[in-house]
């Protein structure tokens, strides 16, 4: 399938600093794609280049096969939902949503019909005559979304649109956004620094760091098989296993760590035997045992902290090598007490070797 959006060797620099570094990114139509990364990673710049508010220093951007990097925003069939919504304060809700349709020269009955359809999609028909200043944050958010969807863009861009909402409303809007994306079948490109938001809504997550793509994939793959230390750290909580690579055997790496040799999935990497390698291990993948298991590899440690979190207990286990490992525990499974000596074990493939 032809990608709906394609960045080819795109660079963007401001003076001597490089905001986007040789970006190559193809986005399939109809997907919910999230650009995820810390502030300053280039995700917003990427979105603004697609919207037409920034021009790439070099490289090409294709929208539906057409090169658009030099076109002004009004000549591109994409619309954007801004972080602060940017609703026109002098126009009521209906006129805000109708703005793009009016500029398209649509007949006024058709505009009215479409505007009301869109407002009913987010249950705001009763608010059509209100001014933006009279709406709550969540309502403004919905109006901004519908205003951007009204001209029927190929791609909808969302620039951290949920960051101004409180936690409860944000979760509700995540679900609503995802369902609107499903209903409309449009390509959504969503920018956020919130990893949970990215995992909740996306078909594809593009993790960016320092202007480059660190890893791109579906949320499950990113979580289970992070390629780099950055991705492993940015998405969810992670323990790092760092040590000398002793051997490679059947897709597994044998790593010398904390006085024993532990195994990790090679994760598509091919490190040289004898070098230091790092592997990521999620807290919930770790089993905590009170006795040394008979026929699996296990490392020993002592519980230094135990925090009850409701659905699980978070344990911090101190190892002989001085490192602390975080493990998750079913609160009823074991009554772990600070100071207890325990054994940690995991399925070999749950630990994954990282690229750097």
């Amino acid at each position: 399938m032809q990608p709906v959006v394609h960045f080819r060797n795109v660079n963007k620099s401001y003076g001597s600093s490089l905001a986007v570094d040789n970006l190559d990114l193809a986005i399939e139509p109809g997907q919910f794609v999230t650009l995820l990364g810390p502030s300053g990673c280039g995700k917003s710049t990427t979105l603004r280049m697609l919207g037409g508010f920034e021009t790439p220093t070099s490289g090409e951007i294709f929208l539906d096969g057409q090169e658009i990097s030099k076109l002004p925003p009004n000549k591109r069939n994409v619309n954007i939902v801004f972080q602060d919504y940017a609703l026109f304060p002098h126009l009521n809700v209906r006129r805000n949503v109708a703005f793009g349709l009016e500029l398209k020269g649509m007949a006024s009955d058709a505009i009215h019909k479409r505007t009301m359809e869109l407002l009913s999609l987010v249950k705001l028909t009763d608010f059509a005559e209100r001014m933006p200043g009279q709406l709550s944050g969540g309502q403004r958010q919905r109006v901004a979304l519908m205003r951007a969807l009204a001209p029927n863009p190929n791609v909808l861009l969302l620039d951290e649109p949920l960051s101004a909402l409180d936690a409860k409303l944000r979760q509700q809007m995540q679900i609503e956004l995802k369902s609107i994306q499903k209903t409309t079948g449009k390509t959504f490109i969503f920018v956020t620094h919130d990893q949970e938001e990215a995992l909740t809504m996306s078909d594809v997550v593009v993790v960016m760091n320092a202007g480059r793509i660190e890893q791109m994939g579906d949320p499950h793959t990113l979580y289970a098989k992070p390629r780099s230390r950055f991705v492993a750290n940015f998405i969810g909580e992670t323990n790092f296993i760092e040590g000398k690579l002793k051997a490679i055997d059947g897709g597994l790496a044998a790593i010398e760590w904390n006085g024993s040799v532990v195994h990790a999935n090679l994760n598509g990497q091919s490190p040289a035997v004898g070098n230091t390698v790092a592997a990521a291990l999620r807290p919930e993948a770790i089993s905590v045992l009170s006795q040394k298991p008979a026929n699996t590899i296990a490392v020993s440690g002592r519980i230094t902290q135990s925090i009850f979190k409701g659905d699980h207990t978070s344990l911090t286990v101190s190892l002989a090598n001085g490192q602390s490992v975080v493990a998750q525990l079913d609160p009823v499974a074991l009554s772990a007490i600070t100071g207890d000596d325990v054994w940690l074990t995991w399925r070999e493939n749950d630990a994954v070797v990282l690229a750097d």
């Binding site: 508010f53 619309n79 940017a86 026109f88 002098h90 703005f99 793009g100 500029l103 398209k104 001209p151």
Partner: protein, 263 residues
């Protein structure tokens, strides 16, 4: 609200406030009172009351013509000053514009230059360019004086405008001109209304510039000046009272408009 001299007796503070109010309003009140006096001399006491001065003023062709001429000049001044003022404010807030503070300082200069100096320099200027004195020259002079007020009011409003509004309009299909007309200009409306009223009031009030730049037709301040030289009479008080009431009403309405825009 704060309290500054909380150790002082409250009545003393309030008394000083009322003294100030009397100082401000008493001269105006006296002037208005005499406009109703049925005698030819401007003095107290008032024995008989009348509206005849008002009747006389409102039938005075000279007065009515001067009013119309002043209003015409004020409206033209407002038109030009608004266009120039908005343009300068836009330049100052344009991304990548160099020497903004210099542009701003230059735009504000006419507001602080003494009126007399300003008027003389304008007179020399039009002489050099061979522009005749009269309506055109007066409008030119008044416009230079009014521009700073428009710039300052529009600039304040522009700076409070979210950056994304124009981007949002562009994104929804507007070219930069349409975005300006449909988003920026409506956003500026309250500041424009305030600035325009200010332009009208400063122009109607202006005597010095008009005196130096005017031709044979008299504006309202020049007419009053001429009448005063002919001797004080309650008729002048009536004219002054009318001008006071109209300008105060317009000014308060403008204040109301700009105040509402701040919420």
């Amino acid at each position: 609200m704060r309290s500054y001299f909380s150790d002082f007796p409250k009545t003393a503070l309030q008394a000083s406030y009322w003294l100030f109010v009397i100082y401000l309003l008493l001269p105006l009140a006296l002037m208005m009172a005499i406009s109703f006096k049925d005698a030819n001399f401007v003095a107290f006491p008032i024995d008989k009351w009348t509206l005849k001065w008002y009747a006389q003023v409102l039938q005075d062709k000279q007065f009515l013509e001067a009013c119309a001429y002043s209003i015409f000049i004020a409206l033209m001044t407002t038109l030009f000053a608004t266009i120039v003022g908005v343009w300068i404010a836009l330049l100052i807030t344009t991304e990548g514009m160099i020497a903004r503070s210099v542009i701003f300082a230059l735009a504000c200069l006419p507001a602080v230059v003494p009126g007399l100096i300003n008027a003389i320099s304008m007179r020399i200027f039009i002489r050099v360019l061979d522009i005749p004195t009269g309506t055109g020259a007066i409008i030119l002079g008044h416009t230079v004086h009014a521009v700073p007020f428009v710039v300052i009011m529009v600039l304040t409003r522009l700076r409070s405008m979210p950056n994304n509004l124009v981007d949002a309009a562009r994104d929804l299909g507007a070219d930069s001109f349409v975005a300006f007309m449909r988003v920026t200009l409506p956003y500026l409306a309250p500041a424009l209304a305030g600035g325009m009223v200010f332009c009208v009031l400063t122009s109607i009030d202006d005597f010095v510039r008009t005196f130096f730049l005017g031709g044979y037709q008299t504006t309202l301040p020049m007419l009053i000046f001429a009448k005063v030289q002919g001797g004080m009479s309650p008729e002048i008080n009536a004219i002054a009272t009318l001008v006071l009431i109209v300008t105060a009403a317009v000014g308060l309405y403008a204040e109301h408009l700009t105040r509402r825009s701040r919420t």
